[in-house]
């Protein structure tokens, strides 16, 4: 009996070795790197996401236009909605890629731990979102004539970064969950947007505070802190929820 336990332990020892914190991060980086490399070859997701983001900003900007001038009060809302919409487009695709050729099975079969797979995909989504934001933010700035100062741009980057982390964390989990569902694109939108409401509410409010004429710093800090809390809470929850999602 004890010999059996020992032999079993030998198998476990190797598996456990791939679950250390650093190992998880290394594996996650490996997976994210692979996603970026695939994307640099095809550029399909970034092109569609970025172009779509630009179009959304454009459509909104002539919807909110009066007396030959854009209504800049709605700029922060439009910024976040554009990011959220184009994000959904990319989320579905980046996870879908693992399904072509059934690669998700190969990933699940590899000794890599589940959290590493989840984090790897999240890093990839995050990178894509950043590229989209590099399109959307200048577009909003251009159409709504915001003329952001250096300080404002820095604070906006911070806010967007925190909001995007929250978005990617939850979005990746949902997209992975729905990978094998029918009509997954529609379902993804249905579940993602209600769950994203807090990030959108807080992000919009923080952005509105920071493009206001005299920056209400105290209010802004409170919003940003909330975003950070959201990120942490949902990252922990998502890591935990992703783990038991077994392919069957």
């Amino acid at each position: 009996m004890s010999a059996q336990v020992e032999a079993g332990a030998a198998v476990r020892a190797k598996v456990v070795a791939r679950q250390g914190f650093l190992q998880v991060l290394r594996d996650a980086a490996e997976i994210a790197k692979k996603d970026l490399r695939v994307e640099l070859r095809s550029k399909e997701i970034l092109l569609t996401m970025g172009y779509f983001g630009f179009l959304v900003v454009l459509i909104f900007s002539f919807s909110f236009y009066s007396n030959d001038a854009p209504i800049s009060a709605v700029a922060s809302g439009i910024l976040w909605v554009s990011v959220a919409f184009s994000g959904t487009l990319g989320l579905g695709r980046i996870l879908e890629r693992e399904k072509e050729g059934d690669c998700i099975r190969a990933l699940l079969l590899s000794p890599v731990s589940r959290p590493a797979i989840y984090l790897g995909k999240t890093f990839g989504v995050l990178a894509f979102m950043v590229v989209v934001e590099l399109v959307v933010v200048p577009a909003v700035d251009f159409f709504f004539n915001l003329r952001l100062t250096g300080e404002q741009a820095g604070l906006l980057a911070l806010t967007l970064a925190l909001g995007t982390i929250g978005y990617s964390v939850v979005g990746t989990l949902l997209a992975a969950m729905l990978l094998r569902a029918r009509a997954k694109d529609v379902l993804l939108a249905i579940v993602l947007y209600p769950l994203m409401l807090p990030v959108l509410i807080v992000g919009v409010k923080a952005t509105a505070a920071l493009i206001a004429p005299d920056l209400p710093m105290e209010e802004f800090v409170a919003w940003v802190r909330l975003l950070a809390v959201f990120d942490i809470v949902f990252l922990v929850a998502s890591l935990w929820i992703f783990e038991p999602l077994v392919m069957d």
């Binding site: 989990l173 949902f234 929850a237 392919m247």
Partner: protein, 244 residues
């Protein structure tokens, strides 16, 4: 098929039919809840006096507040069911989570219908982005999505639904804090300020709602149990080769 497996299927069938009768306690609970709901409704309209400021609209309060409380009661229930299901993978926890989700949607919807009616009178508009209204809305929206996904998600539907229910609860909590920071228009706690007849009506209504909730939860859990028993039976039958 062996005589032995046939006997076990038979026995299972026999056991199930006995389980099909509604337990008397559930029956009694349902009847009591129904009667109390009727009495509470009567008291709301004919016993409790008209409130000076809000007038007739104030009567919404007797339905709105108990619904909100019950929704809050359903949330930890489904959170617990979801966590337990994700860990243990036993169907009974899935039923608990699902029942919690459905009850939270039902009573959350009541909150969302009655809230704006009150708001129209109190603030002149139907919808304000108030803390509690917003967090209720977000939770109900997420839970409805959760029910939809459960229907279409395929083989992992139960795990997915459990995960989503858990996220929904976390999310509603988060919304509560975030909108609180933003602004708060919701009326403060009114219960202490009520006249005695109003108080009596209110507490009876609360009791009636809770009993109704208990009866629904029980019935829903029982339905889940029977359904998995049926599935098990089907599986046994398939195992025994009855599908051939």
């Amino acid at each position: 098929m062996s005589a032995e497996t046939l006997a076990s299927v038979n026995e299972a069938l026999f056991d199930r039919t006995r389980g099909l009768k509604t337990p008397p306690a559930l029956m009694a609970l349902s009847v009591t809840a129904a009667v109390l709901l009727a009495v509470a409704a009567w008291m709301v309209f004919f016993y409790a006096p008209l409130e000076k400021e809000m007038g007739f609209v104030q009567k919404i309060f007797y339905f709105h507040v108990p619904s909100a409380w019950i929704m809050l009661l359903s949330a930890p229930l489904m959170a617990f069911g979801s966590v337990a299901y994700l860990i243990k993978r036993q169907d009974k926890y899935d039923h608990l989570s699902d029942a919690g989700v459905e009850l939270a949607i039902l009573f959350g919807a009541l909150v969302l219908i009655t809230g704006p009616l009150w708001g129209r009178k109190a603030w002149g508009v139907y919808w304000v982005w108030d803390v509690r209204l917003t967090s209720t809305l977000v939770m109900v929206l997420t839970l409805v999505a959760c029910k939809i996904v459960r229907g279409y998600a395929g083989p992992n539907a139960k795990q997915i639904a459990a995960g989503l229910a858990l996220l929904a609860v976390l999310n509603a909590t988060f919304v509560y804090f975030s909108v609180d920071l933003w602004k708060g228009t919701h009326p403060p706690k009114l219960i202490q300020t009520l006249e005695p007849q109003m108080k009596q009506t209110f507490w009876l209504s609360v009791l009636a709602f809770h009993l109704a909730w208990g009866a629904m939860l029980w019935a829903r859990l029982r339905m889940g149990k029977l359904r998995s028993a049926l599935d098990r039976l089907h599986m046994q039958a398939t195992e025994a080769g009855l599908d051939d």
